[in-house]
Symmetry: C2
Subunit: 360 residues, 2 copies
């Protein structure tokens, strides 16, 4: 049978406590050349949905033989490009019936090829981001880190906090985001979820003062973490490609930078000459791409000990989660599938619907 799960099913069973070690093991497999990732591709075309919108078909694949699975993650997006404060942002429109988004993960067995699971990507997407930053914090933050500041109060911010909580015993948690109501709701919800006080702060400086761990998780296009926030021994994490969350003036104060992977160039196929808003020639990192990457370790290198991590409690470390990998959906999907089967969740469809007698 092929399992069909919903985001609600996945949310019930996918915990950071389970996911962080699975992701870590997956990154070891990747670093050792035993797991494989195919970088993201996008085909970008016009859409009839909106004249100033675009259609994008995105896919990324990964296989982890140790877990016995491969995954394809697909996004079929209607993109819009609203301008706020003179900055263009890329916003997906929930254009599918019922005002819904379209993101899917298909999980396959490397043992016999069979399709094991088909499910939406949303909850897994958030958890693999938070889980990856948690793996980084586990290897890069001070052992005794216990004070965390979350900059941002959206969907990704919660996963960042859950991730940090899974790798360090936090006893002082702060959240800052520009809108008072948002940070207060976040503090309330996450306090309830963790059974610990999450304190809303009026400024990023207040949230970061004395923090051992800082997680940047906002929708802002500009920097949210500045030089004035840096303190000895701090570990900072970001989730946006291009390292744009960390103000360039703060970089000289950071002793160790790591990325998820150097190979962060999506393969983009354009039609009709259309271009995505954020695509720029050079300057993505505020420095040439090659120079940027030369200065960076990768998380798998640090996890496997090929590159040195933090050298002392006084060092400042920073992890930039610079790309999404189909590979992460293989790792997360492996865990979700195993737990969903055990819990009896989801719809089971005949595997025959997704297989064939014809040699393709």
């Amino acid at each position: 049978m092929t399992l069909i799960l919903s985001n609600e099913d996945i949310e019930r069973i996918l915990t950071m406590e389970d996911l962080v070690p699975v992701l870590e093991e997956a990154y070891v497999e990747l670093a050792e050349g035993r797991g494989g990732n195919r970088v993201r591709s996008d085909i970008v075309t016009p859409t009839t949905f909106r004249e100033d919108g675009l259609y994008a078909l995105k896919s990324m694949d990964g296989v982890i033989p140790k877990f016995g699975v491969g995954a394809v993650r697909i996004n079929s997006d209607i993109l819009t490009f609203p301008r706020t404060d003179g900055q263009m942002r890329r916003v997906k429109a929930p254009a599918a019936p019922g005002e819904r988004y379209v993101g899917l993960v298909l999980l396959f067995s490397t043992h016999n090829g069979e399709p094991l699971m088909i499910c939406p990507d949303g909850v897994m997407q958030r958890m693999r981001v938070g889980g990856t930053n948690a793996v980084a914090a586990r290897h890069m933050a001070r052992q005794d880190a216990h004070v965390a500041a979350i900059l941002g109060s959206g969907w990704q911010a919660g996963a960042q906090l859950l991730g940090l909580e899974a790798v360090r015993p936090l006893d002082d948690i702060r959240v800052y985001s520009p809108r008072k109501a948002s940070r207060e709701v976040f503090a309330q919800e996450m306090s309830a979820a963790l059974g610990k006080t999450v304190r809303p702060c009026a400024t990023a400086a207040e949230a970061c003062a004395g923090a051992d761990l800082v997680a940047c998780a906002t929708n802002a296009t500009g920097p949210v973490f500045f030089r004035e926030h840096v303190a000895a021994g701090m570990h900072v994490g970001g989730i946006r490609p291009g390292a744009s969350e960390i103000d360039r003036a703060a970089w000289p104060d950071i002793d160790l930078f790591a990325l998820l992977d150097h190979d962060d160039n999506a393969q983009i196929v354009h039609t009709h000459g259309v271009r995505l808003g954020e695509e720029q020639d050079g300057g993505m990192y505020g420095m040439p791409h090659d120079e940027f990457h030369a200065a960076m370790a990768t998380l798998p290198e640090i996890v496997t000990g090929r590159r040195e991590g933090r050298r002392s409690d006084g060092q400042v470390t920073c992890f930039l989660n610079n790309l999404g990998m189909g590979y992460q959906f293989a790792a997360t999907g492996y865990l979700v599938h195993r737990k969903a089967k055990a819990a009896g969740l989801g719809h089971e469809l005949p595997t025959d619907w997704f297989t064939e007698t014809v040699h393709p």
Copy 2:
């Protein structure tokens, strides 16, 4: 609703008569930069299925805004590499439950992103190959071509014949394949399907003598069409990558060669250092890759008139269908989906199962 179709459903509704013009229109869109194709990728890893086997997760994508669809085609294959007559062949094992293969096509709407259809790829795969060679024959063969020779009697051979029949009124059809029983069964079945006599021939020379159209569609790894078979005015089609079906000694006699596309390098991700049998450095075409491509037109160029096709009835032309494109599954899927909806075929599943409220 999202439509789930079987190969049997697709076989009932997908005809060459419908498909050839749709594919032709799709290639025009591609040539004009209005359609987009993302080249095939494979991630190749070990499998527990067989020690000497491999697992391969293959994907390819395409979007055709004019048809309002994008497609992702996925293959989750267990590969084996048996040796016959000293030649290694790549053979997929039907390893999924019920001894089945795993190939899927997912079709999405460019209008609103929604998942329109999920179905196995087998019948579509065969038809898009035959249909593409038919588009080539329509543009490259003599207008008055009416005698066809099919070299091969397998799954692809039938689609080749159906394709030629759709673009030229055939009145003399021959089939050759080495095993007498195979060619006789093929002749019988295709005679019944077409309502025309298909004549089995004991040699390729006999089948090709006087033929205007020759279709190579075998599993052989070596050449099947030789210099002695060439005659003035002939059009020859092949379906294997690497142009290996046409003996090199025959090439000087061919006036016009066309490929489907120059960009035929699959993106292959290896793990554990495993390699696919057919991967070789250079020599794939019996000449350097760049030199080979420089000598070739492409089918979309010929369809759009950017490159000259056949100049006279006496010229010998050859089309080499050198790669599979996700784009072809978008074109074929568009047609299949439209006809299946009209015929009320398949299972309808709630689109909500494959969409989400979460911004992915």
